[in-house]
């Protein structure tokens, strides 16, 4: 079997909007989702801004799961999946009876739960920790939450390949439908802002104070973010048969590993990952109309990404923007949000902006970051970049259905 795979439902739960309409409007408007941290006590930290989802209300979004039994990240994943299925307009009973599953990416899984357990340990001792929290620790619960919420009996796989994990998940879901192993898949990612990651990025010197400005000459780092991103995938034949709205086709993906350094990315290896993705999608670099960047906003990452882009695309690469300027770095959900933005760009005819852009960087002359305002355009083929600690690169390619 060798089926074409399309995206027919989108489910963003994010700091700039929940649900495809709100998210799409915010993306076009260049809205900021950055606010003062409220999910943990940030006093004592020099920097205290993040892309949290303070109005996340899992009870209002979920119909099946008992919200007290699940950690925040699992609830992000399940809520996003629920929204994606509603957006796809597929009959829920038919879906539950079909060959359907989920693949969900994450960096930190339920590490808010590990933080809560650690706080119990510090204050009362390990022998006093809450057993119910201990049961919530396995990161496999993210995809399990998606399947349980929607009554899916197929595979539930959580891929924890850090900040490119959603692209791993999207690629895996794509293969499951191509080969006929599944008829419907929900792919995406989820993560929660947590104290230890905020501290770690600060100590690495990777955290900016208040504003994330990717590709800007004066960019100074990331802001951590959170949320859930889900995409509903099915075969082109299935979507056409049921008259579904098709946002985009998944054309292929590429994975590789720098095998070089845990935190410093390697532009040569990333260029190779781009070529793998193009080869798998059956396209050439010239076919790409827009790149949804990994674009973290650290001086090193953006320079490396630009260098790899120039190596593959030459000195006039397609426009490349970073939605992390609005969302912050949503970690394992990041390339999931990138995939949603890419699908919307193809479907609605625009390029999302890189906000907070002030000064062009003379070191990145080839880069058109779509500064500050979204741009009308009709991208046919889009490349969505995801890179991670561990040198784990993952790139997905989406296209307009011809």
């Amino acid at each position: 079997m060798n089926r074409r795979v399309v995206i027919t439902g989108l489910g963003p739960v994010s700091s700039i909007g929940t649900g495809v309409t709100a998210f799409g409007q915010a993306l076009r408007a260049g809205t900021s989702g950055i606010s003062a941290i409220s999910s943990f006590d940030s006093s004592g930290f020099p920097h205290y801004m993040a892309g949290e989802v303070p109005d996340f209300d899992p009870k209002a979004l979920l119909r099946t799961l008992s919200t007290s039994e699940w950690g925040r990240t699992s609830l992000f994943a399940a809520a996003a999946a629920r929204l994606a299925v509603e957006d796809a307009g597929i009959d829920e009973k038919a879906l539950a009876g079909a060959s359907a599953g989920s693949s969900i990416g994450t960096t930190s899984g339920e590490s808010q739960v590990i933080e809560a357990l650690t706080a119990e340990w510090v204050h009362s001792g390990l022998d006093q920790i809450t057993p119910a929290y201990a049961a919530q620790v396995p990161a496999s619960r993210l995809a399990a939450a998606v399947n349980q919420e929607l009554g899916l009996t197929g595979e539930a796989v959580t891929l924890s390949t850090a900040c490119s994990a959603s692209n791993y998940a999207l690629g895996y879901a794509y293969d499951q439908i191509v080969t006929g192993d599944a008829d419907y898949m929900i792919a995406g990612g989820a993560d929660s802002v947590c104290r230890w990651a905020h501290a770690g990025f600060y100590r690495l010197g990777a955290l900016t104070e208040k504003v994330c400005s990717p590709f800007d000459k004066d960019r100074s780092g990331i802001l951590t973010g959170e949320g859930g991103a889900a995409l509903f995938l099915e075969s082109l034949e299935s979507a056409t048969e049921r008259g579904a709205h098709i946002y985009a086709e998944v054309l292929g993906y590429g994975l590789n590993c720098d095998a070089n350094h845990m935190v410093a990315p390697d532009p040569v290896s990333i260029a190779e990952c781009m070529r793998r993705a193009h080869h798998n999608a059956g396209i050439a670099p010239a076919d790409i109309d827009y790149i949804c960047a990994h674009g973290t906003g650290t001086p090193a990452n953006d320079a490396m990404e630009a260098q790899a882009v120039v190596e593959v695309f030459g000195t006039r690469p397609p426009p490349i923007s970073s939605i992390k300027s609005m969302l912050g770095h949503t970690m394992g959900a990041a390339s999931g949000f990138g995939a949603i933005a890419s699908a919307l760009a193809i479907d609605e005819g625009f390029l999302p902006p890189t906000t907070n852009y002030r000064t062009p960087d003379p070191e990145l002359p080839a880069i058109d970051p779509v500064p500050n305002e979204s741009r009308p355009a009709q991208p046919k083929v889009v490349q969505n970049n995801g890179f991670a600690f561990g040198g784990n690169n993952a790139i997905t390619i989406l296209g307009r259905v011809a």
């Binding site: 004592g44 339920e110 590490s111 920790i129 399990a144 100590r203 590993c257 190779e272 561990g390 784990n392």
Partner: protein
């Protein structure tokens, strides 16, 4: 069994089924033994890996004994250089990968390292590394005074990423957070990558570390369960390749993975029943493998004495294979190792084959059940290790 066993030389075997994976080497790190050869010997002698763990950590532990390695230091195996900041999960995973590469006849060179990768399963990475980091932010007067050098240890893909750096493997590098299903989920992920032509060979397995955290998490959840297996730690990693390609090169695999199927049902006591789900899963796996239930010689289970999980596994197996099929219970030798358990169950089967030519061609099933309603089954066919170019 001998009379009906299919060996590499019988005609029925020549046509390797499409998408079949070959295991061409393996490595194992447990309190019972380190390395495939030692592990095979230890299982053959019926030894147990249960150890006194008092004093293993500064913190008090809930029990005096565990299937853990109080004296394990990664530098004793891989040297001091570059290993000093590794967390325990990374150490166990990397050593498993290294031993697996030592055990295979696959050679990794600059010509193929782009096509060789790693797929490792985990529960939540090094929970201790994340918790220690968290603790530093809570206890210090300045919460950001954490050690940046240890930050990579907090991400779940640390073991796979560090192993790729150590071994120079630039192909697919994935981490599957599968909990008790991690071993089978990692195999399934690898099967997809190989059948789609994205990789030629993958180091596939899973790891779990023992720490005060994992010991207490388990104790607080399950201490009322009498007969529960004591917790442990370890890793098992397999060199996995396309079986057809391996045969075409005239190489003999240790085993073939004929199918891996998974599903999601209700948590124990909830609908849809995971026991029926596991039976369905085993049935699907056997059909994909073109094996009749009556041909299954053994089932390697994850049974760990937690009644509500063992009950699901028992009902699933009895429904799909009958009550008589022989059980291989890896927890008796290596303890309850969470995400490492599925891989260690496979290792236990391979150990049986390595030392027993009379089992050549025999088919076994591996089953896993998670407390969240996840179930999985793999079908394996194994051979003994006769080739002289291999250790072990």
């Amino acid at each position: 069994m001998n009379a009906t066993a299919i060996t590499p030389d019988t005609p029925g075997h020549r046509g390797v089924r499409e998408n079949t994976l070959a295991i061409t080497g393996w490595g194992v790190v447990t309190s019972l033994a380190i390395g495939a050869g030692e592990f095979t010997t230890a299982i053959g002698e019926g030894r147990s890996g249960l150890r006194d763990v008092t004093g293993m950590f500064d913190e008090e532990l809930p029990e005096h004994e565990a299937f853990a390695m109080p004296d394990f230091k990664v530098r004793d195996h891989l040297g001091r250089k570059g290993t000093s900041f590794f967390d325990r999960s990374t150490s166990l995973g990397l050593l498993g990968c290294t031993l697996a590469l030592d055990d295979t006849d696959l050679t990794v060179t600059d010509d193929n390292r782009d096509r060789v990768g790693i797929v490792l399963g985990t529960t939540a990475g090094s929970i201790k590394a994340t918790s220690d980091y968290s603790r530093e932010t809570l206890e210090g007067d300045r919460p950001f005074r954490v050690n940046p050098v240890l930050f990579p240890n907090t991400v779940m893909n640390c073991a796979a990423g560090q192993s790729a750096i150590w071994l120079g493997l630039k192909g697919v590098n994935a981490t599957v957070a599968g909990g008790r299903l991690a071993g089978l989920s990692a195999l399934r992920y690898a099967r997809n990558q190989i059948r789609r032509g994205y990789a030629d060979a993958l180091l596939v397995g899973s790891a779990e570390e023992f720490s005060p955290h994992t010991a207490w998490f388990s104790h607080r959840q399950h201490s009322a369960e009498e007969g529960r297996a004591k917790v442990g730690e370890g890793s098992a990693v397999f060199v996995v390749e396309n079986a057809e390609a391996v045969r075409a090169q005239g190489r003999t695999p240790d085993a073939e993975v004929l199918a891996v199927e998974v599903g999601t049902y209700g948590a124990p006591g909830r609908e849809p029943d995971a026991g029926a789900g596991l039976a369905d899963c085993v049935g699907r796996a056997l059909r994909r493998a073109a094996v009749e239930p009556s041909q299954v010689r053994a089932v390697a289970t994850g049974e760990s004495g937690i009644a509500r999980l063992d009950d699901i596994e028992r009902r699933g197996i009895e429904s799909a294979l009958g009550a008589e099929v022989w059980r291989v219970r890896a927890t008796e030798w290596v303890g309850e190792c969470q995400s490492a358990s599925g891989s260690l169950q496979i290792a236990a089967l391979l150990a049986g084959h390595r030392g027993h030519p009379e089992l050549d061609g025999a088919v076994s099933v591996v089953t896993s059940v998670s407390p969240d309603g996840g179930v999985g089954a793999a079908v394996l066919r194994g051979w003994h290790r006769a080739r002289g170019d291999h250790r072990g």
